[in-house]
C-alpha cells in the first residue's frame, strides 16, 4: 500500500531526481486511495503520491505535457495537476461524475464523459468554461478525439453505443450499436479506424469512420480461461501502430492484436484485473494498472513479456506517461 510520503522522504526523493533528468513520469490514478502515484519511467521508483478528489479514475495529459487532468468521479470535479511541480494547480468544473476524457490535438478543448448525467461536457481548457454539452446514451465512459480533431466519440456503457460528435457543430452525427458495456474508444493514428472495446460483450468492434459501421469484430479466447472472463477494457496502439494492447480485466491478461490482420497474436499474464495502460515515451514498454493487486505491470513490447510489477496505490485504474 502506498501512503503519502512524509515530507522529508519527498525532499530526499527530489534530491535524488534533482538536476536535468531525462526520465519520464508515469502517473497512476488510485481509485480507492484518492491519490495519483507518480513513478520514474526508467527506474520505477516512487517520485510522489499526490492527493486528489474522491474516486479518481481517468487521467490524461495535455499535449504539451504541462498539465495532467484527473477525473475524480465522486468529487464531481476534474483536478488539474501541474506536472512540473507535481501538485494540484486548479480544478475544472467538469459536471457530475466525470470518468474518462479526451483532449484535442491543440490542447484547446477537453471532452469529458459525465457518467451519471448521460452527457459529454466540452470545456475550454484554459478558462475552464463549458462551451458545449452533448447528450449521449446512458453512462458515457470511453472518449476519443479523432486525429485532426474533427470528431469526438463517446461510448455509453448502458446504451452500448459509440456516439459520434461533430466537434465543429457540437452535435451527434452517428450512433453505432456495439456489444454490451463499451468502455473505451481509440482512433488509429491515421484516423481510418475507430476501435471500441466492449467489456461484458467480450469484443472489440472496429468501426469505419467514413460510414460509421462496424466492419470487424474481434473476440478473445484463452484455453483454460472461462470465456465470460475475457473482458476488454483499456486499449492502446503501439507507437508504430502495428499492434494494439488491450487489458482483459478479470482474465488477468493483456491481449496483443495485430492491427493489420485484426488477429489476437498473444496474451500476456499480468496482475489481477488490469484496467488501463500506457506506453513508455520511447514506446518500448507498456505499463498496465492492475486493479486488484494494487500494482503496475511492466511489459516489454519487443519480447511481449511481462518484466516486473511495481506497487502503486489501492485500486489503480488509469495510467498516463510523459517524457
Amino acid at each position: 500500500m502506498v501512503r503519502p510520503l512524509p515530507l522529508f522522504a519527498f525532499a530526499a526523493a527530489m534530491l535524488v531526481f534533482a538536476g536535468p533528468s531525462f526520465a519520464g513520469k508515469i502517473f497512476v490514478s488510485n481509485e480507492k486511495d484518492n491519490t495519483i502515484t507518480v513513478l520514474d519511467s526508467d527506474t520505477y521508483q516512487l517520485i510522489k503520491t499526490i492527493p486528489v478528489g474522491r474516486r479518481p479514475r481517468g487521467v490524461i495529459l495535455s499535449p504539451d505535457y504541462k498539465e495532467l487532468f484527473v477525473a475524480a468521479g465522486d468529487g464531481d470535479i476534474m483536478d488539474v495537476i501541474d506536472t512540473a511541480k507535481l501538485e494540484k494547480s486548479r480544478e475544472l468544473e467538469s459536471g457530475p461524475d466525470p470518468e474518462l476524457m479526451a483532449v484535442d490535438s491543440k490542447g484547446q478543448n477537453i471532452y469529458i464523459a459525465n457518467e451519471d448525467d448521460s452527457l459529454v461536457t466540452i470545456m475550454d481548457i484554459k478558462s475552464g468554461d463549458v462551451i458545449g454539452e452533448v447528450p449521449v446514451g446512458v453512462e458515457p465512459e470511453g472518449m476519443a478525439v479523432s486525429p485532426g480533431d474533427k470528431y469526438t466519440v463517446a461510448t455509453s456503457e448502458s446504451t452500448s453505443m459509440a456516439h459520434v460528435i461533430d466537434n465543429e457543430k457540437k452535435k451527434l452525427i452517428a450512433n453505432v450499436l456495439v456489444d454490451s458495456r463499451p468502455r473505451e474508444a481509440k482512433f488509429t493514428a491515421d484516423g481510418k479506424e475507430l476501435w471500441v472495446s466492449s467489456e461484458v460483450g467480450g469484443s472489440i468492434s472496429v468501426i469505419d469512420p467514413t460510414t460509421w459501421k462496424v466492419v470487424k469484430k474481434i473476440t478473445f479466447e484463452v484455453p483454460g480461461v472461462r470465456p465470460e472472463l475475457l473482458q476488454p477494457v483499456g486499449m492502446d496502439f503501439t507507437k508504430d501502430g502495428k499492434q494494439l494492447f488491450v487489458a482483459l480485466g478479470p482474465a488477468n491478461r493483456v491481449g496483443v492484436i495485430d492491427t493489420a490482420t485484426k488477429e489476437v497474436k498473444d496474451y500476456i499474464l499480468v496482475g489481477q484485473r488490469p484496467w488501463h495502460g500506457e506506453f513508455s515515451p520511447d514506446g518500448k514498454k507498456y505499463f498496465v494498472a492492475n486493479g486488484l493487486t494494487n500494482d503496475l505491470t511492466i511489459i516489454d513490447v519487443d519480447s511481449l513479456k511481462a518484466e516486473k510489477s511495481v506497487p502503486v496505490g489501492r485500486l489503480p485504474w488509469g495510467v498516463a506517461v510523459m517524457p
Binding site: D116, G128, V178, D179, Q231
Partner: protein
C-alpha cells in the same frame, strides 16, 4: 469559477426535465385501465429500421437508420412506442421487525420506472420508445382481470410483480400464450419446475439458487454443519427443501431442524428485547453441534433476532443474517453505484432486491427490442432465447436465461444485513462443464420443467 457553465447547465437541466416528463407521460400509478397514448396495436408493425429485416446477429453491428442518426438528438420523440406493462398487486407484506426500519410500499416499481427512463434515452438513438404502463391492483383487486384488460390489445411485454398463484393464473390465460411475462418477485421453486410456463421468464433467483449460493460459500469456509431454525409458511418449506438439496449436492449436513416455537409479536412489546433475549437462547440451546444457524423466516417473525442472541456464539445465514440475494444496497461492483445512486435519487430510499429485478425485467424486454431491432412480442421473445441475448446488469458478466426453465443465469450476492457484501457465488472451485453460473440452482439434467417445444439451446 465562471458563471457561464452554471447557466449552461441550468438551461440544459430544463431541457432534460422536459424530456423526462415526456418519457413518463404515459405512465401513472393508477387503478384505471391504462391506455398508452401512442401504443402500438397488438401485433406491432416491424420497425422502420433496416435492422428489422436482417438477422439479429447482423443487427448487432448495424447502426440505426441513417436518417435517425442524422437527427441524432435524443430529444426528438421516438416514432415507435412499445408498451411495457408493470402488472402488480399490493399484497400484504411482512413488516420489518424493527420499528426503526420503514416499510417500503414501492419496492419494484421504482426500479421499473428507472429503467424505463434509461430505455427511452437509449431507444431515442435507434428510433424506439417505451411506455411503462403501471397496472397495480389493490390488495383485494383482481390481477387476472387486469391482465385480461391488458391482453385485449394483443401480445404484451409484462413485468410481473405477482405471487405464484396470480402469476400462473395470468400466464395460463389463453390470450397470454404469446406474451412475455417477467417474474420479478417470486422465488417459488415450482414455478421453475413442475409449474414452469413457456411464456414466463424468471429474473429473480429461485430458492435453489439462493441455497446453492450460500451452501457453496459455507462449504468453501469448511462450515458444513447447518442447524436450521425455521418458520412454517409455504415459502419457508420451499426454501427448506432446497437447502436439503444443496446439502446433498455440495456435502453439507443439516444436523437439526426446528420450527421456531414462539408466537410472533414480540415486535409489538415495549422492551421486547428482554423477551427476545430470553427466547432465542432457549430455542438454540438444544441444537446439535453445528457450524452455522441457517434461518428460514420469510415472514420476518424472528430471524433478525437471532444474531448475537443464540446460546452459543453462532453465525447466522439464510433469510436473515448473511443472505443470498440478486441485489443489496451495499453492492458497489461493476458500475452498480450508478444504479444505487439513480434509485436513491428517484425513490429517496436505498435500493431493494425487487427494485433490481424489476429494473432488469424492463431492461431484458427493452434491450432485446432494441438489439433485435424488432417491436413485435414474438420477435422479442425469439431474440431473448437466442444466443445473441447478452444482458448487462452490473454483475460483471453477460446475463441470459436458461433454456430449460427460463431462469436467469446470474451470480448471486452474499450480503444483506452486512455493510459490505461478503462474497458472490459461484465460488472458486465449483466447476461446471458449460457455465459456472449453472452450479447455482437446477441444471438441465435435473430439471422437472418440460416446455412444449424445444426452445433455442444455450
Amino acid at each position: 469559477m465562471s458563471i457561464v457553465p452554471l447557466l449552461r447547465r441550468a438551461k440544459f437541466a430544463v431541457a432534460l426535465s422536459l424530456l423526462t416528463i415526456w418519457v413518463l407521460s404515459g405512465a401513472s400509478l393508477a387503478e384505471e385501465p391504462q391506455v398508452p397514448t401512442a401504443a402500438l396495436p397488438a401485433a406491432a408493425k416491424p420497425t422502420a429500421t433496416p435492422a428489422a429485416d436482417t438477422k439479429p446477429a447482423a443487427a448487432l453491428s448495424t447502426p440505426a437508420a441513417p436518417a435517425q442518426n442524422e437527427a441524432g438528438t435524443p430529444e426528438a420523440p421516438a416514432p415507435v412506442k412499445i408498451p411495457v406493462y408493470y402488472l402488480g398487486k399490493r399484497y400484504q407484506e411482512p413488516l420489518p421487525l424493527s420499528y426503526a426500519e420503514r416499510p417500503i410500499p414501492d419496492k419494484g416499481i421504482q426500479g421499473a420506472r428507472m429503467y424505463a427512463k434509461q430505455a427511452n434515452k437509449s431507444g431515442a438513438f435507434v428510433g424506439m420508445g417505451f411506455d411503462l404502463i403501471e397496472a397495480i391492483v389493490p390488495e383485494n383487486g383482481d390481477a387476472v382481470a387486469k391482465a385480461r384488460e391488458i391482453l385485449k390489445k394483443g401480445d404484451a411485454l409484462i413485468v410481473a410483480d405477482l405471487e405464484p398463484k396470480d402469476l400462473l393464473a395470468v400466464a395460463d390465460l389463453p390470450e397470454a400464450k404469446n406474451s412475455i411475462i417477467m417474474n420479478i418477485r417470486s422465488s417459488a421453486e415450482a414455478l421453475r419446475q413442475e409449474d414452469c410456463r413457456p411464456n414466463v421468464f424468471h429474473i429473480i433467483p429461485d430458492w435453489a439458487m439462493r441455497a446453492d449460493a450460500l451452501g457453496q460459500y459455507l462449504i468453501l469456509k469448511k462450515w458444513p454443519r447447518w442447524y436450521v431454525l425455521r418458520g412454517d409458511s409455504a415459502a419457508d418449506k420451499d426454501y427448506l427443501a432446497q437447502i436439503e438439496r444443496t446439502a446433498k449436492r455440495y456435502g453439507g449436513k443439516i444436523v437439526g431442524e426446528t420450527v421456531y416455537p414462539f408466537p410472533p409479536g414480540s415486535r409489538n412489546l415495549d422492551s421486547g428485547y428482554q423477551q427476545v433475549q430470553a427466547q432465542i437462547p432457549m430455542v438454540t440451546e438444544q441444537a446439535p453441534d453445528h457450524d452455522v444457524v441457517w434461518v428460514i423466516d420469510t415472514d420476518e417473525f424472528f430471524g433478525d433476532y437471532l444474531p448475537y442472541r443464540t446460546y452459543k456464539p453462532d453465525l447466522v445465514v439464510g433469510t436473515q443474517g448473511l443472505q443470498a440475494v440478486a441485489w443489496d444496497k451495499s453492492y458497489t461492483e461493476y458500475g452498480s453505484m450508478t444504479f444505487q445512486n439513480d434509485l436513491y435519487k428517484l425513490a429517496k430510499r436505498d435500493a431493494t432486491e425487487r427494485d433490481y429485478t424489476a429494473w432488469l425485467g424492463v431492461r431484458a424486454l427493452t434491450d432485446a427490442a432494441m438489439r433485435a431491432g424488432k417491436t413485435s412480442v414474438p420477435d422479442i421473445k425469439q431474440f431473448i432465447l437466442s444466443k445473441d441475448f447478452n444482458l448487462e446488469g452490473h454483475k460483471g458478466i453477460a446475463l441470459n436465461f436458461r433454456s430449460w426453465d427460463h431462469q436467469m443465469r446470474q451470480p448471486v450476492i452474499l450480503g444483506g444485513g452486512t455493510r459490505t457484501i461478503v462474497s458472490k457465488s459461484p465460488q472458486e472451485g465449483f466447476l461446471h462443464e458449460k457455465n459456472v453460473n449453472d452450479t447455482l440452482g437446477y441444471d438441465e439434467p435435473e430439471t422437472k420443467c418440460k416446455f412444449p417445444q424445444a426452445s433455442n439451446q444455450r
